[in-house]
Symmetry: C2
Subunit: 337 residues, 2 copies
């Protein structure tokens, strides 16, 4: 089978560009015993991929130059030499930026059958997949929200942030989002049901953003789900209540390598805050509980989400670069079939 794939052509120096990617066509190998051939229908694009393009110390090794970019994928089994999978099964896996993958299905977590009766296949890459579980673990497990508390999340119209606020609302919290642009903010409030959303593009300095936050979080902030870093983190930190909790899930503001300090860490001490960095894949024991709530929420339309869909693998790099600049609206996907 002809398989088009996108490999890392070179490492970015600063901002990533389309020159860092290369489209190749190869043949899929014949299946060995236990393997499954998957036709990818959906490719997930996520900010963490930017970090994997750098050769730096992080929680996972970088993508090698010349290797296929990693990604979550959802698709359909085209051929199987594994008794657990049949042709036609809908599956999610880590297939990478390519149209097909040959999966060693017996490998733990390599491929998972999903039921698309009530949940669309693409949602398994979003609200009922890695981003949704990230939201759930960060909020429920680490922030531990209590009814009446104020929870702030940035990138609030995105795949993770949107779920954070909806889960917080379901727990009786005040949910405050930050997003880039009036249209995203309107969506966060009106569609997702947040109590408030701040357009951070309209507040580009500390004083302005802090004043905006004070207007919508008059009792201070008890929990911060941080996806961005930089100015937003500094401002929300200055408004944290005693014993507040911060989860560091992403720092997209610094992925290009620009230094992004926490200006006043003394507040972490004086407000007795807890800050926790985490990676969703290291808390597998929490996934079943998270997926149960998320799947039920999406199936019953109580959890809402939006998708931005690029058409065809060749458009994945541009869609990814747009994601890093916040040009997507909701979950960024690439439709492959």
């Amino acid at each position: 089978m002809n398989n088009r794939r996108i490999v890392l052509a070179s490492r970015p120096a600063g901002e990533a560009s389309s020159a860092n990617f290369r489209l190749e066509t190869v043949q899929t190998p014949a299946l060995a015993e236990g393997q499954v051939l998957v036709r990818h229908h959906w490719l997930s694009l996520d900010p963490y991929m930017r970090m994997r393009m750098n050769d730096m110390k992080s929680y996972a090794p970088p993508v090698a130059v010349g290797a296929v970019m990693m990604a979550g994928t959802a698709g359909v089994v085209a051929e199987s030499r594994n008794a657990a999978f049949e042709t036609g099964d809908t599956v999610v896996g880590q297939g990478g930026w390519q149209e097909w993958s040959v999966v060693d299905a017996p490998e733990k977590g390599a491929l998972r059958k999903v039921d698309t009766t009530h949940v669309p296949l693409s949602a398994y890459l979003g609200a009922v997949g890695m981003p949704g579980v990230t939201a759930w673990i960060g909020l429920v497990h680490f922030i531990e929200p209590k009814a009446g508390e104020t929870i702030v999340v940035d990138a609030a119209s995105g795949a993770v942030g949107g779920v954070v606020g909806q889960l917080a609302k379901a727990r009786g919290c005040r949910a405050v989002g930050l997003a880039g642009g009036a249209d995203k903010c309107a969506y966060v409030k009106e569609e997702l049901g947040f109590d408030a959303c701040i357009d951070h593009k309209a507040h580009r300095d500390f004083a302005s953003l802090a004043a905006a936050l004070d207007r919508v979080a008059p009792n201070g902030v008890d929990g911060l789900f941080e996806n961005v870093g930089g100015l937003i983190l500094d401002v929300v930190l200055s408004r944290m209540n005693a014993f507040g909790r911060i989860t560091l899930c992403g720092m997209i503001a610094s992925y290009d390598g620009a230094p992004m300090p926490i200006t006043n860490p003394r507040l972490l001490l004086t407000q007795r805050l807890r800050l926790q960095g985490f990676i969703v894949s290291e808390h597998m024991h929490l996934w079943p509980q998270a997926l149960a709530e998320l799947g039920e929420g999406v199936a019953t339309r109580r959890i809402k989400y939006r998708e931005t869909v690029a058409q065809g693998l060749e458009n994945a790099p541009e869609a990814f670069l747009g994601l890093l600049k916040g040009r997507n609206f909701g979950k960024q996907l690439v439709k492959l079939a």
Copy 2:
């Protein structure tokens, strides 16, 4: 009774100075029912007092201008109108920078009788008091050290840091201290039994301090007990292992108001670190367990400590200003009687 006391004369603008303090003499009031008159023998000087001199958002209200500076004190009951205390009892309390205090003894935590049979009275202001319990809670409760891990603590010759390292050693950890000066480092290693101690005065930039840390912590750092902040925090953060824990107990480097950013907070995410600010007085349920280990350790000489003693209340301001500059060696006390 003539009572000499030191009040906050004015708030510091930047660095604190002796002009911010004023010595007064007043009369102790007659005792009301339930009250106890205590003659202070020892006054504890601690870095946190510097923060209370500022009119800023923190975990406790600032000292009012004109009010007595707060402090832990150890002394002897001189007169009692409370059935729980007798003349001659050795007690610790929060008597402040003065020679005598009239204590509303029934108030919870106001005054505590202590046994000086095996533990010297002054130790109840140090290793078997607030600083020792701070060390215990930060290390045992928040860092949760496991045998074989590397624990780093700064201000390692001080009242808190010295205990942190000794408790870490008792739990099978590698204890690495930072202290200012070769004499303090020698004491930390030879007297307190740390595995290593870095003289941070000999390493004043990132590269030099990081190289020094790499030499004595070749397997990276699993726990950081942070008393100082600034460059030390930045350097140790860069050497933290995955799932490391940081307790923020003090940030003495920033108490004069200079900004002291965390330069690269992305490491908190990529290494999935947990950072927790805490105040010892908010974890009273842990004190009995902590004091049991600390009292036993001091009584049996397994926990060692050193004291720097200023003579007479009039010398408290100078001793305190020296403490902020690291001129003390071990626990800073003032002998009042």
